[in-house]
Symmetry: C2
């Protein structure tokens, strides 16, 4: 589906455009634990990597469409602006206000839908056909997966090869790209982490085929997928070793830990890997954790911690 | 009092021991604004720079004493541990449990006193004499000032020379060291920022001599000094161009801005420079801001933002 060379090509496309986010060590989480805080990425999450890799590959000024609960929306809006293209974003009507505002702030047009009653994919396809827009999928696209994988590539280049790489899993784009490059570079084990309430990947791994669940209710709004992607599943089932889950309460504690000990702002979806280490759900001689994003308002953070 | 060469010497002492914290740009704060987040420094604040520079200059394993309920305590405790010396920290008996625990966690002995009935300075001097401890002052010491100045040195090395350097001012150690190196490197203007309720430095600048005020009530607990230090005043009155003040409400907005836009955890005292830019109190063609620390609990952060 994608090969390590695709992730390396994405890294060249992103050089000087995406931020090379730092790697951060935490001895509290373990003797050899490094984190890659994509909170410092442009638009506040790893999503920029995949979106820009995809959009910059299109013919100049191709207008684009995305459907997203947040971070992908901002990533597409910003990427489109950088290449001088128009972006239309289909967002759930209950998306966090800060994410909607940020998307508008990047110059995109926002169209809303009800995530519990409407099918965003059908809506997106219809809108794309009607307006002649190129759909930029949030994960189920080889260029998006490859772009996302550059986060893991940088982590492993800057911190050295780890035994275990821990990656949040929602649609699966980040873990597909990350596992592709990590396994090529000699990482022994790739572990996906998802919210307990949204354990579609764990069920799928158990069943040996993609399993769909109801849209999960979890604070990790970026991981509220109900089934693995088609392409991401194909990659992940071959390269990902294990899926673990964390509870919303564990995610909150991980956010607190990141704030107080690491001085990092981490959104719920971004904190699942930290939670897995903090609560001993993942143990290994050396660990790399992709912290996928930091888009959470101060109000929401305070509310979650209360 | 101190010379640029002292700050450069401190930088060599700290190399490989202190973190070289990153510089972060913020276009929202201005076209050319760079921040130096010392929240990522060891023990969470710039204080480690001065404490380590001082303690490592003492004869091997000299036991040390500090009186502080805040960042200086942890900086001294950690520095002492790193050089294999015993640290005794005098803390008020009602100091926040988290700060006491952090200090104990670095292996220091904590001696408590009643801040309403006992004089910590007299107690400290007595304890130092009785136990043969070397007192490490929080700011009024040339090695502490020079160490603190390395934060500004790194900022200017990594981001280039700015027109205006903005520095929080409490006891004055950070601004004394920073102004010493900044003026030597060609920074045109150094501005100190303090809480409006604790404007001892502004009053002192207006009067042309150190002026004492009552212990101020402000959320910026690291800047609750009632008068400039003796040595820091001598340096600052020659090299600092201006003192400005920010309100507690402006500090809170700066903390929110840092969290949401920069993804940085900043304690109230650390946010005063950001507040000065955010509210147009300081304007300049290019600005460097020293963000002095990030030691604030998630609970306290939530409480302040409420």
């Amino acid at each position: 589906m994608i090969a390590p060379v695709d992730v390396r090509a994405a890294a060249r496309v992103l050089e000087g455009v995406a931020h090379r986010t730092p790697v951060v060590r935490s001895r509290t989480l373990g003797a050899h634990v490094v984190l890659k805080p994509e909170s410092f990425q442009r638009a506040g999450a790893f999503k920029f990597r995949g979106a820009y890799n995809k959009i910059s590959s299109l013919p100049p000024r191709t207008p684009v469409l995305a459907y997203s609960s947040g971070n992908h929306a901002q990533a597409v809006a910003l990427s489109a602006r950088l290449v001088g293209a128009q972006a239309t974003i289909l967002m759930p009507s209950d998306a966090p206000r800060t994410k909607v505002d940020a998307t508008l702030g990047y110059g995109a047009e926002v169209v809303t839908y009800d995530r519990y009653t409407e099918d965003r994919e059908a809506l997106g396809v219809a809108l794309a056909a009607e307006r002649g827009l190129e759909l930029v999928r949030p994960y189920d696209d080889p260029l998006v997966m490859a772009g996302a994988g550059t986060a893991a590539l940088e982590l492993l280049e800057d911190a050295g090869i780890v035994d275990t790489l821990v990656v949040p899993v929602g649609g699966g784009g980040l873990i597909a790209g990350s596992a592709t490059i990590a396994k090529d570079l000699g990482v022994r084990r790739v572990v996906g982490v998802e919210p307990e309430a949204g354990d579609d990947w764990r069920r799928s791994f158990d069943a040996g085929r993609p399993v769909a669940i109801d849209v999960p209710r979890t604070i990790a709004d970026g991981l509220q997928t109900s089934a693995p992607g088609t392409l991401t599943w194909e990659v992940a089932r071959q390269l990902v070793d294990e899926i673990v889950t964390v509870t919303d309460a564990q995610i909150v504690e991980a956010m607190r830990f990141a704030f107080e000990r690491l001085k990092l702002v981490v959104e719920p979806s971004g904190a699942v890997g930290i939670a897995a280490l903090l609560f001993g759900i993942v143990e290994a001689p050396s660990v790399g954790i992709v912290v996928s994003g930091g888009n959470v308002s101060a109000e929401r953070f305070a509310e979650l911690l209360a």
